[in-house]
Symmetry: C3
Subunit: 660 residues, 3 copies
């Protein structure tokens, strides 16, 4: 288990460096992340390198017996590069040029940028690649963040046309598979194909938009992999990662593919940011931890862990005493084996002078310093015992980048839209997290897995799969096998009706899942955020967002609509069907969190998965370590809470050792 901090020695007086590292060590930190925004410092003129500052810092890091992860500094580039190659930058959907002065400008499709990247990364890799204090690399920084996952520049268009040529070979095929006969947009020349950028009223062909997202993902992924190749060559044996910007903001890039050629997953964990008045609910934080863990299904890193209030130009919520420590504990419990705090000391200048770190703008030790130091001391033994062990689970939620993309541009219901910032529409991610929360609140260890990854599903008793509208036939087969062999599948509404070319199937909803689910759907509506009454036995549930009227063929009804305002009151809303040795639940609506808990109790019970509700703010996980097994119970409330027989302090946790 490694604790560290994001450290920016270039922003401080060199005579402070020694003291900084000393203070970190005393706190229990043994590693720093360095250099990920320092291109301008390391290559002040084209081809002229100056690594002296980080040489000096790494010497000191080594002297203190600490280690460093180096970031390649490609998330911003020096102004001279833009002056020479003005075409190097992205263009937003609305046509705003991503000029210099902010960050994440670079166009992944730009040859000039690729060449400049090759130069700086090669130089860094050669210079630092075998330094004994360097224990790995973070490639770029939050690639795709702040809308940079979709670029509408002329160079992107050029590459998109090439990408399409590779995929479709000829225009007849593209015209047919996109369905360009619709509105008569039949292309007779590859260069007629436009960008699906800002438009006035009607939208672009959905198959085209889906392809554009796939293409953009490919551009970003191949850019990161291109850096990985360089690093592997000159910095042999040093593990590689990149850091995901806070999930769930990620509907375009295929993160599973991104990490397929990297060694481990890392992500940036800010349970509260900017002007938020409340932090994310704890199940959402765990959902994103598990999303990160699940990408490679093994221990992962939090590369930026919240240590103080954060904001670019406005602030919000202040965590009460104990909460930042508990968020650290929560990360460890979920399977992180490296955690770097963001950041050691707060910048006195620049765009993030309101992003507070462990220390404030001065050097005085803060309450945050002492709280995190104490947490590290308390948790360290447990953390070290479990750090390299798998996070075991009997249930999993499956997510799919293709459907995340699909729901970004075709959200189906106003309530499946969610745009926390103008450049993001992450309704799919929020819906997935909500379904995940159902098991989390019942204190069941749960995995979150990319549906396309090579995982063995047979070890799971229950798989949950919401919003699986666009289907992959091989996945459908794998699910059939899973259920036929005794698994329980919980399938969400609008499943199985769209192929990868974005064509709707001829069969009624749930399309290719008709036999497995034993239901047919001919009528549906999208009541947005209105709640629709449902009854499961004597239990009242609520649905919203989308309501399908289920007509069972072979399925049994689990719950029925029960709402005097709705003509379909009395019709089936949730069903269950036997298929082989297993069962398929079909949930024809988006349940409220409370309702989902009630349903999930029934499902888990049937599948033989132990669970228990301990209160809305209590989270319990089970972990196996090298020496002991553990039951960890956390209280995410600022009040004393009873959890089973234990009383937990505000933001406290209880660790129960279970002999192996």
């Amino acid at each position: 288990m490694i604790f560290g901090a994001c450290y920016y020695p270039e922003q401080w007086n060199p005579k402070d460096w020694d003291e900084d590292l000393k203070i970190m060590k005393e706190m229990g930190l043994s590693s720093v992340r360095l250099a990920e925004f320092a291109w301008g410092l390391m290559e002040p003129k084209e081809g002229k390198f100056d690594f002296s500052l980080f040489d000096a810092v790494l010497k000191k890091v080594q002297d203190h017996g600490m280690t460093a992860i180096l970031g390649t500094p490609t998330a911003t580039f020096p102004p001279w590069l833009y002056k020479k190659f003005p075409e190097i930058v992205q263009v937003s959907k609305e046509g705003i040029i991503r000029g210099i002065g902010t960050r994440r400008q670079a166009c992944f499709s730009s040859p000039a940028y690729q060449k400049a990247t090759e130069r700086i990364v090669t130089a860094m890799a050669k210079h630092f690649g075998n330094h004994p204090a360097v224990v790995g690399w973070q490639i770029d920084n939050e690639p795709g963040h702040e809308g940079s996952d979709v670029d509408y520049s002329p160079l992107a268009l050029k590459n998109f046309r090439t990408w399409l040529k590779t995929k479709y070979k000829n225009l007849d095929s593209l015209n047919k598979r996109w369905g360009n006969i619709f509105w008569g947009v039949i292309y007779s020349d590859w260069n007629e194909i436009p960008l699906p950028a800002a438009h006035v009223a009607s939208n672009f062909n959905p198959a085209m938009i889906q392809d554009y997202y796939r293409f953009q993902s490919d551009e970003l992924v191949s850019y990161i992999h291109f850096q990985a190749e360089i690093l592997r060559k000159y910095s042999k044996g040093k593990p590689l990662t990149t850091n995901l910007y806070p999930s769930p903001f990620l509907p375009v890039t295929d993160m599973a593919e991104l990490f397929s050629k990297l060694d481990y997953v890392s992500w940036d964990n800010y349970p509260v940011w900017g002007n938020q008045q409340e932090p994310y609910p704890h199940p959402l934080v765990t959902a994103t931890q598990q999303y990160s863990r699940g990408l490679k299904n093994k221990p992962y890193t939090v590369m930026e862990q919240f240590s103080g209030v954060q904001g670019h130009d406005t602030l919000g919520y202040l965590p009460p005493p104990g909460q930042i420590g508990l968020w650290l504990t929560q990360a460890i419990v979920n399977g992180a084996n490296q955690i770097y705090f963001f950041r050691y000391r707060t910048a006195r200048f620049g765009q993030e002078q309101l992003c507070y770190g462990i220390l404030d703008h001065g050097k005085r030790k803060t309450h945050k310093y002492f709280e995190l130091k104490k947490t590290i001391e308390d948790i360290n033994e447990f953390a070290s015992d479990i750090a390299d062990s798998p996070y075991k689970a009997e249930v999993a939620i499956l997510h799919d980048i293709e459907n995340s993309r699909n729901y970004k541009h075709q959200p189906l219901s106003d309530a499946l839209k969610f745009s926390p910032v103008p450049f993001a529409q992450v309704g799919y991610d929020i819906e997935l997290a909500t379904w995940f929360a159902g098991t989390n609140v019942l204190n069941v260890n749960a995995h979150s897995l990319p549906i396309s990854a090579e995982n063995d599903w047979s070890k799971y008793k229950v798989l949950t799969l919401p919003l699986y509208t666009m289907f992959d036939p091989s996945i459908v087969e794998k699910l059939k096998t899973y259920v036929a062999n005794g698994g329980t599948l919980v399938l969400g509404y609008r499943a199985g009706i769209k192929d990868k070319d974005h064509w709707m199937v001829e069969e009624p909803v749930p399309g290719v899942f008709g036999e497995m689910t034993g239901v047919e759907v001919f009528q549906f509506e999208a009541p947005a955020t209105d709640k629709v009454g449902i009854r499961m036995g004597i239990l009242p549930l609520k649905g919203s967002k989308f309501c399908e009227i289920l007509e069972p063929t072979t399925a049994k009804v689990v719950a029925r609509y029960n709402d005097s305002k709705k003509f379909y009151s009395g019709k089936a809303a949730i069903t269950v069907n036997s298929f082989g040795k297993g069962k398929v639940y079909y949930v024809g609506t988006s349940l409220t969190p409370e309702s989902f808990i009630l349903l999930y109790r029934k499902i888990l019970k049937g599948a033989g998965v132990p669970f228990g509700f301990l209160g809305a703010t209590i989270e319990r996980h089970y972990r196996e370590g090298k020496q002991f097994n553990y039951e960890i119970t956390m209280n995410h409330s600022n009040r004393y809470k009873l959890a089973g027989l234990s009383i937990l302090k505000p933001f406290g946790y209880k660790l129960k050792r279970i002999p192996k």
Copy 2:
């Protein structure tokens, strides 16, 4: 009476065509609309035509004893045309280029587009113009829809300057009539005149904006008329129309002028669309039906009639059983003699894969199919008896495109703004529909007529004229004659104070109507959506949006403000004045719908027009047929309702035959 469907054979397997037509016939349909988005198919390369697909389809249509309306396909054009003439597209007010990939891109002012239009329309007209199955043409598709009624392209600016030269002859005249002395914007060269496009803070001269809307209307209308000339030449005797996008979204184009050279009006009737959680109230649907009927004051067509839930990327309300049938009945009752359902089968691909038709994505017959089939069977005899008869009415509402334009850019009160989509501000239309609703809810047959059209008003007992701020002196004279001869005129606030050059008159409100109304107004406010109390005898009314303090000269007070929050409590709000043999009501505020009903009861009673309120969801019309007269009572609620002595089923109707 003709029932048909919008049919896209190009989107389906040719081997399905026969079955498709057979299913339509069985349902009671005898006609299809074809080809309005198929330019790319029919002219795959410039000047190279391929009509084989529609030849084959029309053969089958004929074989089944059915007919077809053909659409000219100019609402989208082939990508090769844009590649050759990139200047061919519109530019939005905000500067977004309407590139290809969506629809309605073409700039009506572009010579290249006009030439390409001439080529395809001539070729189609020559090829299909005398086909026995072809019974008419729809020119273009929803011209002006989705903001394409106002174009800010360089070619539009060029034509605008020419248009101004034609209108004003010299710049002195333009400068004087626009009032360019204001803020000193005095033009000394025609080429100095800019587009009234996006701006930062203050607006452009209102007279200029009004002229820009007039110019844009002229461009659109002459484009459609240009197509009409070609069709008349090569397809003699086949009636021409174009289809209006759903009213009331039409503040720029002069629709009366548009149809002046066409044979009949058609429009697209979607009582609910996209993410709406409720359909439009039934009086609004009838208001738009009557708006369409009134443009030529004769039977009309619904070219696209709702047959399933619709949306581009999100959905909403699902009509309960019976409602789509009732919407069909409502269209017939209002005077439609041709109705085409949109659409036969739901597209499996493309931007409208969520626009559900009579059939879903598959070929299975749906509940919608059976409901519409049954409705057609039930209504057919009645429909055929009245189809070609006039819709008789003793009251009418008058609307005016000049004031619709005026209120689009100068809405006067925040509550007279309504932008259901960013490119539309249709507060005028909504206000008119609200005043119309007053008579509709009282179950009085009512016409909705363009004020400029050559209609004989002497047959109406009551004319309603809201928001007639910009006046035409000849209309004022016609109104005077109407009232002097015994008519009752209901005039709305802010009447008669602005000439066609957008100059305010020197007289107090209601300006040129001072003598007719017998009131003067010196003080007014715009309370937006706040409600202001009024009392008419013992009846409490409510006004909002705009409140004028009426000072009667010769008028009698009908109602007074009665609101302790307002200093003008006690002052007149509504007056009536005798003028010749008739009466002029002046309504100094926008009444709430309930209040308007109370006022209208008084007005109708005085004018000797029979009426009767049967409940908020009941709509009754009176029609005269060839064989019988009819009283038709519809229940727009999903509950059983008592209407007079009849109990109506949810979404049911009752047809009472009255011997002639």
Copy 3:
């Protein structure tokens, strides 16, 4: 005391001019403002001048024994100038070109515009500069209004780079002081520096934005001063001003510097505008009157005084009888010695045909005419007695343009943002006005002074200084001296922690005020608009927007947080510290207006300043005249109100003469 009107003879028939001036005189007006939008009239072609219209008008003005202020007409320019120099216009942050047709287009950085300005202003100054009826000049019109205070044009960028060169001398200095090491934006060429214009996600460096605002202010100020030089040369002895657009919309331009080379301050007073449903609260109007008065700390002018409802395309509130008269009285009481009504008669055409004047569109005298005439007659003797006397006060609020700029781009809390229109973010101004209101409601004469101006603070018993985050060391010293000598300073949260280069200090909040305040702050949150409970003795207060947890070192606690939802309940929220002979209150949160009154009672009492609360709608001022002293009590309510022993009519006032 001078009363006048804004008059646009160019918009009216010359034969009306005599009657117009006669009507004004009868009303009590003796002056007109002329010509500020008439460039196109006076220079119809480049270099060809025609002053005949205003010659004729000034002749008549003189004949009637009246005077005129002339406006230089540079707020709009003739279209021919734009045709010749298309680069002459501003560009908005979002990239919208400020083309002609509206107003305030001109780019202050454009040499062509400066040259054209020199030509017209010189010609006007030579022609009219010594006319006996001309009593002064208004330079331009509302410079900076409607977002024209920040220009993102290419010419602005060019001048910005030059401005930076002048300020920083070399790029090393700029890179260091901006902190460009952050995100690695290190410039190696002046021409690499971009505009801080529209961007996609992250913002520009705050030091850069702050400099951009300073630069823009310099451009605007030097443009106005450039005109002043010309006028001083050719129109010797005639006083100069410019008119501020309605405060508090002014976060970029340094208005104190703007007026440093002009003779008196004038501003445009619209207590209600456009679609507002309520006028501004009376303390906000007084706050802006005092802001205007305080810029030069002497009598000032209201150049446009509300005389009728105003709007560009929508209207709102109608002032009840008496209110426009009371707003006139309020201006006089606050120290205005010249008041021009906007406008004499309402324009019949153009963008402001809904901006109603004293007369409406016709020539008939209105109720507004008679109300203002009566008010002038009643108030004139008092007004003349006090017009040239100082407005005396023992308390003052200090505002600072640097912090206004800072909070525009870094507002810290969502509740410190306020954007009444898209181009303005004036949260600072609103917060300042709110703190000012605390003293106004207690009926204490109060000044509002630019902190940088050369005022003697020793005469004030209490100084209030909110949001003084960015500090000037010399001001800190001046404040220390002020308090040390016995003054009472009320310092707001987040004080003293940022230097002029936008660097945060190393010390905890309140930074450089640590010793004076005797507190330290390590924790804070921004609860936005949520209210947080506080207790001062037995009095319950409420804070919001920002809450600091105060840790007293030498200070005494005045109030503590008292809110069960907050972990910092019980911690200090407001403190007081003795420093020298004086006291420093530190207020760690933004109090609600009611709470601030309670606190201010305590502070004023301690400082020996008399005060008294007479009700929320009552405002009382004390003025010294040449013959008498006065206590003036105004009732801003539309009800009768008791104020002390007097009963005041709705919108009435009471003038109490006190022998000197």
